[in-house]
């Protein structure tokens, strides 16, 4: 990939406009890039386009208590409330909320649906005003850099010049790293959890399996399925099932399901869901398609595949953090084989090489990559300690700056 300066550069071609999605989803929507389109890493210009976000808590008078939570591949802005589509609890309701680790009585928490997403932010299911049809695969390719550039505009719109913290797991960790690397003056501390500075070959391979499953679904129709009665649900469900395995661990699967049979005493010598694990995966696949757009899945997995922070800096990861004032806290989980500890450690070594302030913990758990979404008391304890320590330091630096 060639290095592209996102955002703010001069437009060469005509900007791609995205018709605003009208939704009755809770939260906020903001139209960006009307006067000043966003230059994407692909070289295309985007604007105007809509970004949907949700906030919790309130911004204090000196606008110093903002925490940006970055969601993962299939997450969205509904961090800490009942999900408007599924009716389930917010994906990080265990961490974000009044009196919780990220205390919304103390912090103003923002979560923004990523570019290319399907919960109110511009994505492939939105209308292309040039044709009056949904974009489908005509939607421009998106990168993590583009997502973060769009988020930066939302943060600026909110009148926030410096985020106290940027935090995220998995793809959210990629965004947190990108924020810290590209806009270090806007970030006091960054907390990339279960992340990596680049998507590994194995992870690209898994994503490709998911994409092929979607594209092999006859209902996918080259991405132009929006005016049909049927969506590529089977393909998307298979993509989700395959991906879901990578979020767990062998021992967690064994602990939860073992070789237990599903609602039966005997094996059937057929291809029904004999085993509990099969039934569980099928359920995961089915419930996912209710809330997620197949083309969004293609675009966002691609954005993760393209992520390589070192490549943007002539192959040298430390250069991405040279002179960084950001305080980092990296977290990995022992049984996470999708974003293993070695990936986090590589980032830590790069940060050490530029003598950046970095904390790094590995949490013992058998829950795999999904651990960052689960009840992990040790993880909560550490996150809470890091945040309160950083809050003290932030208060001190603000006092020194104003003195």
């Amino acid at each position: 990939m060639t290095k592209q300066e996102p955002d703010g550069a001069q437009s060469s071609g005509e900007a791609i406009a995205v018709e605003p999605t009208v939704t009755d989803l809770p939260g906020h929507q903001l139209v960006l890039g009307e006067a000043d389109p966003l230059l994407l890493a692909s070289g295309q210009m985007l604007g105007p386009f809509t970004v949907a976000y949700q906030t919790y808590g309130s911004l204090n008078d000196d606008r110093s208590n903002a925490i940006l939570v970055c969601h993962a591949l299939t997450g969205d802005q509904y961090v800490a409330e009942t999900h408007p589509v599924t009716g389930k609890d917010g994906w990080w309701g265990t961490i974000v909320g009044a009196g919780r680790t990220i205390d919304t009585d103390q912090y103003f928490v923002i979560c923004i649906n990523v570019l290319g997403g399907c919960m109110g932010t511009a994505g492939p299911k939105d209308i292309d005003p040039r044709t009056g049809e949904p974009f489908g695969l005509k939607f421009p390719g998106i990168t993590i850099t583009d997502m973060v550039a769009a988020q930066k505009r939302v943060i600026e719109h909110l009148g926030i010049t410096k985020l106290f913290a940027v935090i995220g797991g998995s793809m959210g960790a990629m965004q947190a790293l990108e924020w810290a690397s590209r806009y270090p003056e806007m970030v006091f501390c960054a907390i990339p959890i279960a992340g990596a500075a680049r998507h590994s070959a194995q992870n690209i391979a898994f994503h490709e399996v998911g994409r092929q499953a979607i594209m092999a679904d006859p209902n996918w129709c080259g991405g132009a399925y929006y005016d049909q009665d049927v969506d590529p649900e089977r393909g998307l469900a298979v993509a989700r099932m395959a991906a879901h395995i990578t979020y767990l661990s062998d021992s967690a699967l064994h602990r939860k399901f073992g070789r237990n049979l599903q609602d039966r005493q005997e094996i059937t010598f057929g291809f029904d869901a004999d085993f509990q694990i099969e039934s569980y995966l099928r359920h995961q696949g089915r419930s996912f398609v209710e809330r997620f757009d197949a083309n969004s899945y293609l675009y966002i997995t691609r954005a993760m595949d393209y992520f390589d922070l070192a490549a943007e800096h002539d192959g040298l990861l430390p250069t991405a953090f040279e002179g960084s004032p950001v305080r980092f806290c990296l977290v990995s989980f022992t049984s996470d084989w999708l974003f293993p500890t070695a990936e986090s450690r590589q980032i830590v070594h790069a940060l050490n090489a530029v003598a950046a302030a970095v904390s790094f913990v590995e949490i013992e758990t058998d829950s795999g990559h999904d651990a960052f979404l689960l009840e992990e008391p040790e993880f909560f304890r550490i996150l809470s300690g890091f945040l309160s320590g950083a809050a003290d330091q932030y208060a001190r630096t603000s006092i020194e700056a104003s003195a």
Binding site: V354, F360, E362
Partner: protein, 210 residues
């Protein structure tokens, strides 16, 4: 003998207080083998240093980070090379040197990444250690050396005089030496004589490059 005093929930040892006195307020430092972060926490809170830590045990690291300290899991013997030259004003090695295999290498690394090194260690030349061996015929166990020989992390047994010889060999200078006797009484010294080696339970060296 009461060599420990209580501050908040963390117990600060006399050697840790003396190390804090050696460190310039507001400086950048790294505590190598920072354990559960008591010293680093003291330095950050009271000396307002920009402090980092490396700790081998994951349990220690987790406790440090939960205290709000910038600590990473790592090994003094293998991970110091990641840091650039002159990254810190001070590189601390508190009570960790006896557990180091490559003593020379680690000392040299400390003085590459730090402009100064502060090294504290128990003195095996202390008379009680000698008498344990001489009269009891047993490996010493004391407040400073609390573990039985078979479970002690210490693999290097050296005296104050041994350490002075090593500094000379490495062409390093002890800018300040503080010795601590069994009553926790500290004294600054310019050289180490026979009696000092005999009466000192532990020592702290501020080491500079030549």
């Amino acid at each position: 003998m009461n060599r420990q005093e209580t501050t908040g929930t963390a117990r600060i040892r006399v050697d840790q207080k003396l190390i804090a006195d050696m460190v310039t307020p507001g400086s950048r430092l790294i505590d190598v083998g920072c354990g559960d972060g008591v010293l680093l926490d003291l330095l950050v809170r009271e000396r307002h240093v920009d402090g980092r830590g490396i700790e081998l045990s994951q349990e220690g690291v987790n406790t440090c980070v939960a205290r709000g300290l910038a600590v990473v899991q790592g090994d003094a013997e293998t991970d110091l090379h990641n840091y650039p030259d002159d990254a810190f004003d001070f590189a601390l090695l508190s009570q960790t040197l006896p557990a180091i295999f490559d003593v020379k290498g680690v000392l040299q690394e400390l003085l590459r990444i730090g402009r100064c090194a502060v090294v504290s260690f128990p003195n095996f030349g202390y008379w009680r250690v000698r008498s344990d061996l001489l009269f009891r015929g047993r490996s010493p166990i004391s407040d400073n050396l609390p573990n039985a020989w078979y479970e002690s992390p210490n693999i290097r047994f050296f005296t104050l005089t041994d350490f002075m010889d090593l500094l000379a060999e490495l062409d390093l200078t002890a800018q300040q030496i503080v010795t601590i006797d069994r009553r926790g009484h500290a004294q600054s010294r310019s050289e180490i004589g026979h009696w000092t080696n005999l009466l000192t339970e532990q020592a702290i060296f501020l080491i500079g490059r030549n």
